[in-house]
């Protein structure tokens, strides 16, 4: 039971590395971006894992509840904004991928490198 308290961290580590693996090994640029968003989600999971307090509730103050325990609101604030920023940056990446496709006719990294070395 004690070990289950670390399960979130293990999932974080495994998912993070799966994302990293995708980014390193796949040639397809969109697949790379998907891997990057998995990587990002793993980091979100790490932060949100840290905010949990035993017996706590979401940090919304209710009147009439004496001596409440709240989970930590600070990581939530950081991640809330990070998710929205994440989608904007992903969109920027996708826009670049679309332009690469239009110029090179491919979104596979090795094709693009081959086209580059031809020039």
């Amino acid at each position: 039971m004690e070990l289950l308290g670390y399960y979130n961290y293990w999932v974080f580590a495994v998912v993070l590395c799966l994302g990293l693996y995708t980014v390193i090994t796949r040639n397809n640029l969109i697949k790379k971006l998907l891997g990057l968003s998995i990587f990002q989600s793993a980091v979100f999971l790490l932060y949100i894992t840290m905010d949990k307090v035993d017996g706590g509730t979401a940090p919304i103050i209710q009147k009439g509840v004496s001596d409440p325990i709240f989970s930590n609101p600070l990581p939530q604030v950081l991640i809330l904004t990070a998710i929205v920023v994440g989608v904007s940056t992903t969109a920027l990446g996708l826009a670049i991928v679309v332009r690469i496709k239009e110029s090179y006719g491919s979104i596979e990294e090795d094709d693009i490198l081959a086209r580059d070395s031809e020039l």
């Binding site: 289950l4 495994v14 998912v15 989600s41 840290m50 919304i60 103050i61 989970s71 679309v98």
Partner: protein
């Protein structure tokens, strides 16, 4: 009981992540990513982060999927088959994972109330929020008031990313004359999605406004509300086709929203200076400091919502309009 549920959901998360990597069709990988996001939102909810769960469900599962679909339509759906065996990458990644798992034993256990993160500044936030800001949702209080300068930065990052997407996707090759695209009619040929979509649309927008203005009292706020309203308007564009959507909600309004929301946020900060306080200090906005805080948070949340909604719509339409030339 909850921990068993959490372990189940987290294990599913790993399985889905593996499935995403193995999927060769990018469309399938994208759908799996959506499931991944929804599972992640459920996990956030179990970990007491209701605000974050709402954001992840609206943005990770909703908007991200639509933007990826837009990009997939412009590129290709199939990944080239994967041949090379990653002799170098596999050990590197495995060692990284092993190190991270090894290091996890030095972390505080899940839910430990004695963890360092719960000792530093957070007790002060929890204690002072009822006195200084007096709104129930501490997340909104920190986001909008205590750390408003951070949030201002985030809003400008979104705005900048939106401008970047517009720069990249609005340019055309000079040689190509714009060919008249077949008029996109969206799903208007399909009766069932049309009827259901039209029926749901007002409720989505209404829910967006609820999330916007209820953000002080419950989970919600400008980021989530902007994304939900944007989802509703994207649904409209999908149902009625690009052209009609742009006629109903022209591009200049979206641009004005994206810029205006960020401007409103910054102006609230400047107003604080003008009225004798510090930048983004709302207490001086009204004679009663707490009323000033309420007014300030309302205004900046509105600014955030407007910018997020406008930027996401602009990004969507940038991808959608690219198809036609």
């Amino acid at each position: 009981m909850t921990i068993l549920f959490a372990v189940f959901l987290l294990s599913l998360l790993v399985i889905i992540a593996v499935a995403i990597i193995r999927a060769e069709n990018l469309f399938v990988a994208l759908m799996l990513t959506t499931i991944f996001s929804l599972l992640m939102a459920t996990n956030f909810f179990i970990l007491d982060a209701a605000d974050v769960a709402l954001t992840e469900a609206a943005i990770g599962a909703g908007i991200t999927t639509v933007i990826f679909l837009g990009a997939l339509a412009l590129t290709s759906e199939h990944e080239k088959p994967f041949v090379a065996v990653p002799w170098l990458a596999l050990p590197v990644v495995a060692v990284t994972a092993a190190l991270l798992i090894f290091a996890s034993f030095d972390n505080p256990r899940l839910g430990d109330p004695e963890a360092p993160i719960h000792q530093h500044v957070v007790p002060w936030y929890l204690e002072q929020t009822p006195k200084l800001v007096d709104i129930p949702n501490v997340v909104t209080a920190i986001l909008g008031s205590f750390r408003a300068f951070d949030t201002l930065g985030e809003v400008f990052v979104i705005f900048a990313a939106c401008i970047g997407v517009l720069f990249l996707l609005s340019a055309r090759k000079p040689s190509e004359t714009r060919c008249t695209a077949p008029a996109s009619v969206g799903l208007s040929q399909h009766l069932i999605p049309k009827v259901a979509g039209r029926f749901i649309l007002p409720f989505i927008i209404l829910f967006g406004f609820y999330v916007q203005f209820h953000g002080d009292f419950g989970p919600g706020g400008g980021f989530q509300a902007g994304a939900i309203v944007a989802t509703g308007l994207i649904l409209f564009a999908l149902l009625e086709g690009e052209e009609r959507a742009l006629r109903a909600f022209p591009r200049w309004i979206m641009m004005a929203m994206a810029a205006g929301g960020a401007l409103l946020y910054a102006l609230v900060g400047v107003a604080g200076i003008a009225m004798g306080g510090k930048f983004l200090d709302y207490s001086v906005l009204s004679s009663d400091p707490i009323a000033g805080q309420h007014l300030g948070i309302l205004l900046i949340e509105a600014g955030v919502g407007i910018t997020v909604c406008g930027s996401l719509l602009l990004i969507f339409h940038a991808f959608a309009a690219r198809e036609s030339f």
